[in-house]
C-alpha cells in the first residue's frame, strides 16, 4: 500500500482513516490543511499546487517510512492535493495510529513538518489584489 499519495482531485478522508484503525491502535491523531482566505496579511482567493510527481511520491513515502521507524506508531499516511484549489478546500491530510497518544501526536506533527520542508510541492497563491505568486519560502531556522 502506498502510504503517501499526490491527488489531483478532491479526496475523501474517511476511507484513509479507516485503513489506519485497528484493535491495537488506541490513539489516532490527524492533521488537515485547508485553503485559508488570507496569508501573511493578504486576502487569498485560491491556490494552485504543483508537484514534481515522481520525486514527490518517493520523498513522501520516505517520510512515512522514517516516521514508522522513529516513533512507536502502528500506521501513518499522507495525501496532498495538487491542481486548482478554492477557499476551504482540503490541501493536505496526515493520519497516524498508535498504541498511545504521545507518539501519535509527535509523528503526525513530524510528518507534516517534513512534508512542508522536503516534498517537491509548490503553492501559487491568487490574491484579491496583485499578481498570483509562487511561494518559495526560506527554510525555517
Amino acid at each position: 500500500m502506498n502510504r503517501f499519495a499526490i491527488s489531483e482531485v478532491v479526496f475523501e478522508i474517511a476511507p484513509l482513516r479507516e485503513q489506519l484503525l485497528g484493535h491495537q491502535a488506541g490513539a489516532y491523531a490527524s492533521f488537515e490543511g485547508w485553503v485559508r482566505d488570507h496569508n501573511e496579511g493578504r486576502a487569498v482567493q485560491g491556490l494552485f499546487y504543483e508537484s514534481y510527481r515522481a520525486l514527490a511520491d518517493t520523498e513522501g513515502q520516505a517520510i512515512i517510512n522514517q516516521a514508522l521507524q522513529r516513533f512507536a506508531i502502528t500506521g501513518a499516511a499522507c495525501v496532498h492535493r495538487t491542481g486548482e484549489l478554492a477557499l476551504g478546500d482540503l490541501a493536505v491530510w496526515v493520519g497516524v495510529s498508535a498504541g498511545h497518544r504521545g507518539p501519535a501526536f509527535d509523528a503526525c506533527r513530524w510528518i507534516i513538518d517534513e512534508v512542508k520542508t522536503r516534498v517537491p510541492l509548490w503553492k501559487r497563491e491568487r490574491y484579491a489584489q496583485g499578481p498570483a505568486t509562487w511561494l518559495h519560502p526560506d527554510p525555517e531556522p
Binding site: 490543511g33 499546487y49 504543483e50 508537484s51 514534481y52 515522481a54 520525486l55 518517493t58 520523498e59 496532498h80 490541501a91 493536505v92 507534516i112 512534508v115 512542508k116 520542508t117 522536503r118 516534498v119 517537491p120 510541492l121 509548490w122 503553492k123 501559487r124 509562487w134 511561494l135 518559495h136 519560502p137 526560506d138 527554510p139
Partner: protein, 78 residues
Amino acid sequence: MSVTVLYFASLRDAAGCDRESLPLPASIQVLYAELSARHGFVLPAAKLRVAVDGAFVPWDSPVNDGSEIAFIPPVSGG
C-alpha cells in the same frame, strides 16, 4: 550527448516551458549558471536543491548523457 532539464513553479514561469533538452553540461553548477543568465532566474543556486533522474543528489554530482535534471526551488506544500 544531451540532458533534459525540468522546471517547476517560478522557474517554469521564468523559463516559459516545463522542460528543455540541452547539450551535456560540464557540471550541474555550470548548467544552472547558464540557465540563470538565459532565463533570468532570480533564485540563487544556494536556495535550490537538485535532482537527477528522480532522486535528490549533491550539486557536484556528475551528469551523464540522457540524464533528467530538475532544479528544485524552495518547496511550499502543506
